[in-house]
Subunit: 353 residues, 2 copies
């Protein structure tokens, strides 16, 4: 007797993450926006002085030490933070807690593909608001048509475009619904981009953050939501109790407390990004201005297509991202690695003609 | 404008896990069925020789190395395994993938409280089949009334009662629906209890396992499902992509490959359990025979109530579990720690009269 798969899953086109290179083979991995620099030495120290009981017993479901550290850094009470298994768990949790079958969810187009996948899983109707021809997105435009929720990434992915917090505030004034701002890449953006300080004044705002990018903890799976305690408590009810690993709580706290290290990594990545973007432009690539740790760029017309470059780079052990949608088909999204990673990529591109 | 919380969450009574003692205070923790012995030295070794890149880059979403090790141990193909963030993530995933609004889910009563919480979150109707007066449960009885799914724990929690795999097979022959057997405690049960080998023959069976109990990895959050590849693929579509931490995949694989160590821990816990149960019985406690790493036991009539003992032990830094339901109110569920943990508990009980 074949077991029926629920339509919410059966019809789902799952999110496809960037490919992992074959373990053991040399590779330059520029397809998941990971930090090219190792975690802070303070994280390695904390893990090497590990209480072995941390593995044996259940972790603190409330992530109290980490939330306390986050509260200090952001100058908000710990009750305004919820930690999760990467911001991806928190994206699911937002839909689970606030979005029902048939509700409309407004997204910019393009944006991070996971939002539409999770929306579909909860039976929501996705309404896309196209970015302009330079991939700039208009947060206020998302508010029209009374959606149940607006989800946007700032800086946006996979474009790297950002807007100032004032634009988010103007959206908040206009929107009569939940507004979720995913700030996975905000550490790389100019000061004044983050909407976190607005969570105190706007009860319909949830900001998401992650330790997977600037904090070099993609393997540790820690993200957090910042919003008012009422929404935090609601999300907590539906959350997997122990989803944040004990070692990850420790690693994230140590990483957060080494602000100088993350600032230095972010600055290096920013310098490499501008250097790399300039070199691509010198080769007549069209590069979208980025405030994140990646660039979206189109190869010059008349040469190899983006899809073909993607495949040929992959054969040479260089992994970048290609999205097969109308808007993005002609472009590559390239994570910013070290200068030498980017030189190797430029070198390979030269040889591919 | 107050954001509406979806009824699936608003009406939810969330699962309450056992309390964590205040960090830094001396405590004997017998309330979450954790292993009292440290992880295998092979796990500590593996973590101390850690490639620091494991923290930096996203983990293997497919947990291939761990699934390959599981496949070897169980003699089944890797395509029959799905790893998750503890078996709790997999319980949620089973409901997400196979259970819809209004579907009936059959559970024994009592059983692990999380099943009914997740069922409620997916709008399912829970039908409880009471265990007999000795807390024995009748797997076949769960099949009546054509539920969408049957979920049971074997050994059952919080009773410790188990049935042989033959009884599960008899249920599988009778049941025209999904059958989920949570084997979180099967490592502690007599050989012949596990239904894993039945997954090859019965396409409507999902077996869940965890590394949180016998493998002493409660802090690492790794569980797995065993079933046919069709159901594995369906569950994978709705799963959080990177929910299993990179270090946890490594730790679980190392723990699994040290079978001698886990056998020794399990044997010690079994000896302590029988010694402790005998001492409780000698004090006229009513102890449910257990095949797990805990016992459910009622203090003698005429003395302090279970609830009062729970509170007074807690004040003395000894944490056990008390469930405030009609069936369980008169009992305590006590995890099996070391002999000295159990002696400290017996000693405290003596002093409480």
């Amino acid at each position: 007797m074949p077991i029926a798969i629920h339509p919410r899953i059966d019809r789902l086109q799952p999110y496809e993450a960037g490919e992992r290179p074959e373990p053991g083979l040399p590779a330059i991995k520029l397809n998941q926006n990971e930090c090219p620099y190792p975690v802070s030495p303070k994280v390695s120290d904390a893990l090497s002085r590990l209480d072995p009981d941390l593995l044996r017993v259940y972790p603190d479901a409330d992530c109290l030490a980490l939330r306390t550290a986050l509260a200090e850094v952001h100058g908000l009470p710990p009750s305004m933070f919820l930690c999760g298994n990467g911001s991806s768990e928190l994206i699911t949790l937002v839909f689970r807690t606030f979005v029902g079958e048939g509700d409309t969810v407004a997204l910019p187009d393009p944006t991070f593909g996971l939002y539409a996948v999770v929306a579909a899983m909860y039976g929501a109707v996705v309404r896309m608001t196209p970015c302009d021809s330079d991939f700039r997105f208009d947060p206020e435009a998302l508010a029209s048509g009374r959606p149940r929720a607006i989800v946007l990434a700032n800086p946006n992915a996979p474009t790297g475009r950002f807007v100032e917090a004032e634009r988010i505030e103007s959206l908040l004034r206009r929107a009569d619904c939940l507004v979720v701002v995913d700030e996975a890449y905000a550490d790389f953006a100019p000061p004044g981009t983050s909407a976190i300080r607005l969570t105190e004044r706007y009860d319909h705002l949830i900001v998401l953050r992650t330790f997977s990018k600037a904090y070099a903890l993609g393997g540790a799976r820690v993200g957090y939501a910042v919003t008012n305690p009422r929404l935090i408590e609601a999300m907590k009810k539906g959350k997997e109790t122990f989803s944040v690993h004990a070692l990850s709580q420790l690693a994230a706290e140590a990483a957060l407390r080494d602000a100088a290290y993350v600032r230095e990594c972010v600055a290096r990545i920013g310098r490499t990004r501008e250097r790399f973007a300039a070199r691509l432009r010198a080769r007549e690539w069209d590069v979208v201005p980025s405030a994140a740790n990646f660039v979206l760029a189109a190869p010059p017309a008349g040469g190899l297509s983006a899809r073909s470059l993607y495949g040929q780079l992959r054969e040479r052990g260089i992994f970048v991202r290609h999205f097969d949608t109308d808007r993005l088909r002609g472009m590559l999204r390239i994570s910013i690695g070290t200068d030498s990673d980017m030189d190797a990529l430029l070198d390979a591109l030269s040889r591919l003609g």
